[in-house]
Subunit: 490 residues, 2 copies
């Protein structure tokens, strides 16, 4: 196996893999279809529902000539039409049959096999993986997987699960885990960012996450790269070099799974690999400029921030609240997570003094607007004034969406929420990260709904809503560190 | 001021303050009422709406003889009825008049003044506070505040904001901040725990949080004590002694606000005090057994956990998921936050093997149930089997509530959610913390609603739902440390 991996390395270093064919297949063969809705039939179904426009050929000798979901079933790979060329085979047959299928694909000239089937090294059996790889080399087929859900491309309508967005974006996601690939593919669009392409790499018997990184690095449709990595099986040196080359052009956010001792053992049974130590990954991130995150929430928040905002030039932040309790909590949590909440200039304080009353308020930063902060104007006014503080790169505001209905009555307006948002949006400086923290007093359904509605509306204006000061601060800090890396490597 | 504080210390150390009168006033005088809905009128309004059963006397010479919200307005404190005795005056007049009012209260024999008014040391003026204190001492009145919202007692229907629950519970909350007092009072009941009493202490010119701690320590209605502290103004030594005495009987959860450098300065303008260093508070917590938390979410989660569960005897945890991606994320985040995810015994593994298929699963802990984890039974079965692992004190399960509607169809059941919950509840061992983590793929309104509904249903069975593995792990770790403290101080 070691020898083959070295061969693989040499090979992939020489010439880039034509992943454009994988992500934009002109025709697709699907193996492992039957009358149950699972396995290959599942992929046929989701591609059909997703209006995948190119030919799809289900293959099963037992069902040959019949129709499945309206598609003619073929007897064998050899019997499939040649025009347009089949660029991808999706394989969901029992693991033991897969090496033989790779041979047939090669003979037919199909360049990519996505193997969905599991039952390889993740259950302790690596012989099959060796056979797969041997045949892949021998017959010139590149394998994605096994034990993975494959690729997603909103432009070509390739999909790895049902109901994903077909809005094309600029986030490329490489995930070793199918579960996390699907999770981010669903999550991104609900947060207002979209994908160029995404892929799950599974057990990486042949093609690995490093190969995909090389592709995304040069892919003009991809501006931000996100990765979920459990282990780098091969090409370690190339991975580090590639990361260094990539981060100077595009941010790379890495969530490393399995960095704890037992998490490591969970990886073994998940995608069959050995996970590395967390400290090694921290060092690697520091050296390469990759942005390392700890969990799914941080991954999606960081990608969203990179998608919505410019990089913060400083780690200085302004906090705007209506209530001293929140300004204290905000300042503590921002400073705890490495941000700075500086006292603002005399000029700014004087401008604030013009409209903020003296009692139960604070105009030095953190800003506590007191009772006037409950109106629709004071937040926007403060954001506007902060244009005069070039050193402050981020502004975190707290809001109380569950109270907006009451405030609408108190302030005699029909659309309190809309006015508040408009005033902030009008004032928002282009070079600052303007962020909201909708704080709930109650955590009942009505309050949560009010928060979600408000968050979605702000999102339309590229204003992110976090759920805690700590999350906001961690996210700002991480992308500020990336800015610092770029500055120091100019 | 120093002298008076020392006097105050000597005094409060000698005899306990009769806070039962403050929390259960037989009659209440309200000063600072007028035709606007704010100030004293607000308190009159919320107590009336809350069906406060005892007499309430609004006082305002300009409105004397008129009615306000149906209550007769009195000319002066001196003219108020004497029977039943007035135990509490709520004061919302401009700060400069408050020292004079304390004199009148003393002459009338009213023992407690809750001063809502602000404009004292938090805006840099401490002369008024000194006058207040001098008169309090001279005329025998105890002052809560100023700059605070006062007390809340579901049993007596005393309230500090509108719409709080009147279900009586066993959590006592002492908050220096009115905002945080109100926030927890609303938040607790939506999380399924309730209050014995709560109070905000504000600028603590006379009565302080240490006095309230002494009261809650001996209060038979209070089993769990929560505190939000910005600063301990006086009685520092007594505070430490009291904490030590209290934690051996009741857990004390402390959220210390203003522990960062600038948070500190935010405290100055919030409640007019000097905040202490975070490291000092960590040391104090370690020495006294207090449970220190960093923000509001951790405060309410910790109180909820203490309210729902026994203390965990170990920091060993089992993780049950349906998906390798989640078992890796869970294990990483639990270990990162100081928990242990041990491999389970051969016996447990054999029991698991009986119903969990071999591919795409893990039965050693973290448990990845694979596809059978999508049914209604496998989680309950696993929880049941874990009864045989006495060393594992906590069980964290992940669920996918947004998918329950699909699963109901796939598994042909009308009430997937209900069956799943029932199976877990039936299996739940009494001595373990059984916790759920509802994971969302999408973060749209429908998914969030599904999560909230599921969380509320689990909560009825005293099963907590966290939003991240990290939050769950931090919470378990903190209350396990309290268990360790108790064990080592037996």
């Amino acid at each position: 196996m070691v020898k083959s991996h070295l061969e693989s390395k040499a090979r992939t270093t020489r010439s880039p893999i034509p992943f454009d064919l994988f992500f934009n297949p002109r025709a697709v063969a699907i193996l492992g279809v039957n009358e149950s809705p699972y396995g290959g039939t599942y992929f046929l179904d989701i591609l059909a529902k997703n209006d995948f426009p190119n030919p799809m050929y289900p293959v099963n000798p037992k069902l040959a000539g019949k129709k499945l979901l309206g598609y003619k079933v073929y007897e064998s790979i050899g019997s499939l039409p040649d025009d347009p060329p089949i660029d991808l085979a999706i394989i969901a047959v029992p693991a033991k049959y897969t090496p033989g299928i790779i041979k047939e694909l090669g003979e037919k000239g199909i360049p990519f096999a996505h193997i969905f089937s599991s039952g390889y090294s993740e259950v302790g059996s690596s012989t099959l993986e060796q056979e797969l790889l041997d045949n892949a080399r021998k017959y010139g087929v590149r394998i994605i997987g096994p034990n993975c859900v494959g690729g997603y491309n909103p432009r070509s309508r390739l999909a790895f699960t049902e109901g994903t967005s077909n809005v094309a974006g600029d986030v490329g996601f490489i995930s070793q885990s199918g579960g996390n690939a699907i999770r981010l593919a669903y999550n991104g669009p609900t947060r207002g960012y979209y994908f160029s392409k995404a892929v799950s790499a599974g057990n990486q018997v042949d093609v690995d996450i490093v190969d995909f990184l090389a592709y995304f690095k040069d892919d003009p449709e991809t501006r931000i790269i996100a990765m979920y990595i459990e282990n780098v099986k091969q090409q370690g040196t190339r991975f580090i070099e590639l990361l260094q080359e990539t981060t100077s052009e595009k941010p790379v956010v890495i969530w490393k799974g399995g960095s704890s001792e037992r998490g490591h053992s969970a990886v073994m049974s998940h995608t069959g690999g050995l996970a590395g130590n967390h400290r090694i990954w921290k060092g690697l991130a520091k050296q390469t400029g990759a942005i390392l995150v700890d969990n799914f929430k941080e991954l999606t928040e960081t990608v969203q921030a990179l998608s919505f905002y410019p990089l913060p030039k400083t780690r200085k932040v302004a906090i705007i609240t209506a209530g001293g309790w929140l300004s204290v909590e905000g300042t503590d949590n921002c400073e705890k997570h490495g941000l700075v909440v500086p006292c603002v200039s005399k000029e700014t304080q004087e401008l604030m003094n013009k409209f903020v009353p003296p009692v139960n308020t604070n105009i030095t930063n953190p800003f506590d607007l007191g009772a006037i902060g409950l109106g629709t104007e004071a937040f926007g006014q403060t954001v506007k004034i902060l244009e005069g503080e070039p050193d402050i790169s981020s502004i975190i505001m707290t809001h109380a969406p569950e109270k907006f209905a009451d405030y609408a009555i108190a302030f005699k307006t029909d659309d309190f929420e809309g006015e508040l948002i408009q005033n902030i949006v009008k004032a928002k400086p282009k070079d600052k990260l303007v962020i909201s923290l909708p704080v709930l007093l109650q955590e009942n359904m009505e309050s949560v709904q009010a928060r979600e509605r408000f968050a979605k509306k702000l999102q339309e204006h590229k204003i992110m809503c976090f759920r805690s000061f700590g999350s906001a601060a961690r996210c700002i800090k991480r992308i500020w560190e990336y800015h610092e890396f770029l500055e120091s490597h100019k």
